[in-house]
């Protein structure tokens, strides 16, 4: 499979009053064509910032300060704003969390779709509109021809998110970054959209980065999972490996706090403590204040290593990885 996106040691920092904050800290990711990568972590762990960095949408006072992002074999961190604009919405698209907020409330759907086509393709309004209608049909919007003339407030939340997905699909991108697109929706609609996205990605060979804080969403969808904590990837591997044999104590904690995995009547287990502020991270492993396996060794930052040699496909950033419970 060919690599669509290869991110190496990506760092994105914010200059704040309390000093420089690394919201994304040496993040490395690889995504192949047609693959779904789940990016999981608590609120504030830097998932969205990773997505914005790839899109070139980090706004001041934030800035990508290091690393490389190779999209379709091309280094994009050094592109001019104009070249980056030409890629956005064309080779790589992004969908956001709240469908009530992502569509412009005062512009008709056709306006918002046609402009997305014409930003990248020198085609007539009529052709762009046809493409918009086809995209709406693909994401399961009934009578798309009429719906093109509607305004966002005339759609339900689920339908609006479908419109946003249709917009992302318009220019047949190689990669779609979906930033918690189902979190704001009903569970049933969430399920439908997850299923449809998966099908669409498979059919078109589009790679997908699915950002969520909910491991159960990723379980049925992703091929691989990367777990983020305080701006860093702390564990990475195949979805089944991560869920059944997590090696990082933080991943274990995330799994235990998913309701459906707990027995009835048993209390939900929460990860003790709170996500630390990025300005007050401990020296060494960022998780040590909340970790029950922490030792003196953890005061030195752990490198990303193979979790359980010789099995190479699961990697972890921890001095004392968990043993394989199924072994």
């Amino acid at each position: 499979m060919n690599v669509v996106l290869d991110v190496r040691d990506l760092c994105t920092a914010f200059a704040t009053r309390a000093g420089v904050v690394r919201a994304v800290d040496h993040v490395s990711l690889t995504v192949h064509a047609g693959e779904v990568l789940g990016l999981v972590g608590e609120s504030g762990s830097g998932k969205s910032m990773t997505g914005y960095s790839i899109m070139g949408l980090v706004e001041p006072p934030g800035r990508v300060v290091g690393g490389s992002i190779v999209l379709d074999g091309r280094e994009i961190t050094s592109l001019s704003p104009g070249e980056m604009r030409a890629l956005r919405g064309n080779r790589v698209a992004m969908i956001f969390q709240d469908p009530m907020m992502t569509l412009n409330p005062v512009l008709r759907i056709d306006t918002q779709m046609v402009e997305a086509v014409q930003a990248h393709d020198d085609v007539s309004h009529a052709i762009a509109r046809d493409r918009a209608r086809d995209a709406l049909a693909r994401v399961g919007i009934p009578s798309p021809d009429e719906r093109l003339n509607a305004y966002p407030h005339q759609f339900s939340g689920g339908m609006r998110q479908r419109v946003a997905i249709a917009i992302a699909l318009l220019n047949r991108p190689d990669l779609i970054i979906a930033d918690e697109p189902t979190t704001a929706l009903d569970v049933t609609i969430q399920g439908q959209i997850l299923y449809e996205m998966q099908t669409l990605a498979q059919e078109s060979g589009t790679a997908l980065i699915w950002i969520t804080h909910d491991l159960s969403v990723v379980a049925g969808l992703a091929d691989r999972v990367a777990v983020m904590y305080a701006g860093r990837i702390v564990e990475e591997g195949g979805t089944a490996d991560i869920i059944e044999r997590p090696a990082h104590p933080y991943t274990r904690g995330l799994i235990d706090s998913v309701p459906s995995r707990n027995r009835r009547g048993e209390r939900l287990r929460q990860i003790p403590g709170m996500t630390p502020a990025l300005t007050a991270l401990p020296e060494g492993c960022a998780f040590q204040d909340r970790c029950n396996r922490a030792t003196a060794a953890c005061a030195v930052a752990p490198p990303m290593t193979v979790a359980r040699p010789p099995y190479e496909a699961q990697r972890v950033r921890c001095h004392h990885p968990l043993p394989d419970p199924t072994a």
Binding site: A86, R88, G89, F96, V106, H153
Partner: protein
């Protein structure tokens, strides 16, 4: 829509009635115009004849009733001073005031919105901060003082621009206007700028605040994620949203611009309604004062109606009540 218009018209009539009653009673309470209008040496007989001629011998309620009767036929009474219909006097002066107010509003819009957009996009830059500092001046300096300073600099010291009057006018649909002649513009530009200053500052602040807020919205980020150019993101996505409050404020301000024109008209001796009002108040010329206020209120009502219609056209989420009717 029709039901909406009918209801609005009925409301307007009630407002006009209340307004006229207030002014009637108000001017009555302030003083007796006869004391000002009649030669103090006149004898008692002359005096009584004049009072009767102006209808001031009747009780106030009857005067008001007679006024209402006349108003129904479009007759708002004759000026105590000039003896001609008060409404005619007002309408004769109205084009000058409207011209001044429209030009002032255009100056405020054409300069204010781009400056506000710029300041909103670059709030921390030197230019953004300078624009904001300028707008604070526009808010805080008193209109009459700025007017006098303008005259000092451009008329007295530099001698570039005339300081009073409308200059050469030309008829447009039978109405004399200044903006069709060069000399008219030379007379118009200074009072219009003076009158525009407050609204220019208001436009800048409003546009800047709206831009800053809109730039934080997800729909702007999503528009950027689609790969739209910056010009399109700002010029379409941001502007279309902030235009909604801006149009509302423009409408509301246009009314007060006409009202505030009184000061500017006095400073620049601009022959508009405002100057007429000041003179009429000096003579307690009640018919003219009442007519002026009724005309102003009517203008406010019409403007508000236009704003409502525009508002619903700009914001698809708003439909005028009873739109189906």
């Amino acid at each position: 829509m029709l039901v909406y218009l009918i209801r609005r018209s009925l409301q307007s009539v009630v407002v006009l009635l209340a307004m006229s009653l207030l002014v009637f009673v108000g001017v009555y309470a302030v003083g007796n115009p006869i004391d000002i209008l009649i030669n103090p040496q006149a004898d008692q007989q002359d005096r009584e004849r004049s009072i009767a001629a102006l209808g001031l011998d009747k009780p106030l309620w009857l005067q008001y009733a007679l006024f209402l009767k006349g108003a129904l036929t479009g007759d708002l009474g004759n000026s105590f001073v000039q003896g001609t219909p008060a409404l005619g006097l007002i309408l004769e002066r109205m084009p000058a005031t409207l011209e001044l107010a429209v030009v002032a509003m255009l100056i405020a819009i054409v300069l204010g919105i781009p400056l506000g957009l710029w300041a909103g996009m670059k709030p921390d830059s030197l230019s953004g901060r300078s624009i904001m500092a300028g707008s604070i001046l526009g808010f805080s300096l008193p209109t009459f003082w700025v007017g006098l300073m303008l005259i000092m600099v451009f008329s007295v010291m530099l001698g570039w621009l005339p300081s009073n009057g409308r200059g050469e006018t030309r008829l447009l649909f039978g109405v004399p206007v200044s903006f069709l002649t060069v000399d008219g513009w030379r007379h118009l530009i200074m009072p219009a700028t003076n009158l525009a200053l407050f609204n220019l500052a208001l436009m800048i602040r409003l546009t800047r605040a709206g831009t800053r807020e809109a730039l934080l919205q997800d729909y702007v980020k999503f528009a950027r994620a689609k790969g739209l150019s910056n010009a399109r993101v700002i010029g379409v996505h941001v502007l279309r949203n902030i235009l909604i409050p801006i149009v509302t404020v423009i409408g509301l301000q246009f009314g007060s611009l006409i009202a505030f024109a009184i000061v500017t008209e006095s400073v620049f001796a601009w022959p508009g309604m405002g100057k007429l009002l000041i003179d009429s108040i000096n003579f307690l010329d009640r018919p003219v004062i009442v007519a002026y206020l009724l005309v102003i209120v009517t203008l406010f009502i019409v403007i508000n109606l236009v704003v409502d219609v525009l508002y619903s056209a700009l914001d698809p989420r708003v439909r005028l009540a009873d739109a189906k009717g």
